[in-house]
């Protein structure tokens, strides 16, 4: 019982000490003059040279150290200049970016993609690397209705996988205030590349043999990348894959061999295809940290 009483006494004593300490702090601040915040200047055009959200790079996120004489008025945030540095440097770093994507522009068949990019940044804005992805197909409701509504079976190919070599360029770098509480740094990236798309026909008649194609594929992309940590980014990218694909020959007979079907399809059923895809990716950077080369 005594021990419990002793414990409670310790708690109460601590509470009392903390309150006295706070009271002294506030009193001290009051005698020191307190925050003398001038009224907000909302005149358009006033003090434009202090527009500190300028995106110029090579800047410093830390406030200037101020020395306060005893008894001098305390500084408020309006007296302190804060100029942030570029938040993320990519030069001479490797980016490993696992990604998930979806095709956007085919009303009959949708593909989900899982893969990733491996890029090396030659400079902060130029990179080259490899890309690879595996596809999973899903037929849309429209595809299933074509038979019911028009007595037709669509001629479709499914995507199997893709790999390629890419170049990247960062034409834009920006930063946002999130609710004017946090600063989010981001950049705009464009990519172009060349690779190979493996596709396979979906035979119109159930049970018929299928053949595959290796299509040389050009790729153009545009993406936005948000910088989260020194080694972590999040990206949303749109890419357009362009290739010439071979579809199942319209006049295929049940007796045709698959080699014959492929030959006939190649001769009469080649078509230029544009596949627009949206990707979400997570960028992991190696080495995980970087150092600024310019003085603050």
């Amino acid at each position: 019982m005594k021990r419990l009483a002793l414990g409670l006494f310790v708690i109460l004593a601590n509470l009392g000490v903390a309150k006295v300490s706070l009271a002294q702090e506030q009193e001290g601040a009051a005698t020191g003059g307190g925050d003398k915040t001038p009224p907000a200047d909302t005149t358009p055009g006033a003090n434009l040279e202090l527009d500190l959200s300028e995106v110029t790079g090579g800047e410093n996120p830390e406030p200037k150290k101020t020395t306060e004489a005893a008894g001098a008025p305390r500084r408020s945030w309006e007296d302190i200049v804060v100029v942030p540095r570029k938040a993320f440097l990519k030069k001479h770093r490797v980016e490993l970016a696992p990604s998930a994507g979806i095709t956007l522009n085919d009303p009959l068949i949708r593909h989900y993609s899982f893969g990733g990019d491996l890029n090396y940044y030659i400079t902060d804005v130029l990179s080259f690397g490899l890309e690879g992805q595996y596809f999973i197909k899903e037929l849309s409701e429209r595809e299933s209705l074509v038979g019911l509504q028009y007595y037709l079976v669509p001629t479709l190919n499914k995507l199997k996988y893709h790999y390629g070599f890419d170049f990247g360029y960062v034409p834009g770098y920006g930063k946002f205030g999130l609710f004017n509480k946090w600063i989010v740094h981001w950049d705009l990236a464009v990519t172009a590349g060349l690779g190979m798309m493996k596709t396979e026909i979906i035979p119109r008649a159930f049970g018929d043999a299928s053949f595959t194609n290796n299509d040389i594929t050009g790729q153009f992309g545009l993406g936005v990348r948000l910088f989260v940590l020194d080694w972590l980014t999040l990206s949303v990218t749109f890419r357009d894959y362009l290739y010439k694909d071979i579809f199942e020959y319209n006049g295929r007979l049940p007796t045709d061999s698959i080699a014959q079907v492929k030959q006939d399809s190649q001769n009469s059923q080649s078509q230029f295809v544009q596949n627009i895809m949206m990707f979400f990716s997570i960028g992991l950077y190696i080495p995980p940290s970087f150092s600024y080369r310019t003085p603050r």
Binding site: L15, E78, E141, L152, P171, Y173, V184
Partner: protein
């Protein structure tokens, strides 16, 4: 045992108190906004303009829309807008439409397949016009440097709202007789085909961005999904052999738009 409980209790109470005491010793930067002297390009300003929108992934007819937009920004981060859209290309067929139409049978030929070309085409519908209201929430606003030399103010927002869409079709379902004496799909009772035309309520959800070219003019990009009930083909969907209201299904209709928007008053405020 009681001693341990008492000590734990003491520690639990002491730690937050000590932390609070530490917190009370404020840095002068504590209350500072992350961006100072910031141009508030939206706060208490009207926004009006016009642009073009294009549909993405429509089944039978793509749409190129003229899209006027009027908005008022209550604060720098929230606004209310009304948007209209009028389709100026009602005959712009999608590639899927062309593919289907090419495979259908010409009228006059004998076949067990239906529909014939002249039965399928009139019941495929397209967007005629739309009107919607939307609330825009703008959590992100800032600047971008393009090629290291061109600077632009930018914002990103999400939007949500509701509206109406008017759907039209190229014709009406044919009601005559085929060569073999059977009724065309619109002439059966109940009808086997019927274009879904008229006005539907719709939900409006999307994202957008402003890229300010000057303090009073911006490029406005929006990507929205319009959700409404539709039967774009005007044919049976649920397999009961009849085309009626039971065949209407909620559909996603993506529209990408690009507008030139003008802001009033012409001068923007600057924050502390």
């Amino acid at each position: 045992m009681r001693k341990i409980v008492a000590l734990l209790l003491g520690a639990l109470v002491c730690l937050p108190t000590a932390a609070r005491a530490e917190k009370e010793r404020k840095s002068p930067l504590t209350d500072a906004p992350v961006i100072r002297k910031r141009l508030e390009l939206r706060d208490k300003r009207f926004e009006a303009g016009v642009g073009v929108g294009v549909s993405i992934g429509q089944d039978f007819y793509n749409a190129l829309l003229v899209m006027p937009k009027l908005a008022f920004h209550f604060t720098d981060w929230i606004s209310l807008a009304v948007v209209g859209g009028y389709n100026v290309t009602p005959n712009w067929k999608s590639s899927f439409n062309n593919d289907v139409y090419d495979k259908l049978i010409e009228p006059g030929k004998t076949t067990i397949k239906t529909p014939y070309k002249d039965e399928a085409a009139p019941t495929m519908n397209h967007i005629k016009y739309m009107a919607m209201g939307q609330v825009e929430f703008i959590p992100l606003s800032g600047k971008i440097a393009l090629l290291g030399s061109l600077f632009s103010y930018f914002d990103f927002y999400v939007l949500a709202g509701a509206g109406i869409v008017n759907l039209a079709a190229a014709g009406t379902a044919p009601t005559g007789d085929r060569l073999d004496g059977t009724k065309q799909c619109g002439g059966t009772d109940p009808a086997q085909c019927k274009a879904n035309v008229g006005t539907e309520l719709m939900g409006n959800f999307g994202v957008g961005a402003h890229a300010f070219l000057t303090h009073w003019m911006a490029l406005n990009l929006e990507l929205r999904d319009l959700l409404y009930k539709n039967n774009a083909s005007g044919r049976d969907v649920n397999g009961d052999g009849v085309t009626d209201a039971n065949d209407l299904e909620l559909s996603n209709n993506w529209i990408f738009s690009l507008n030139f928007q003008f802001f009033l008053p012409g001068k923007a405020k600057i924050s502390r």
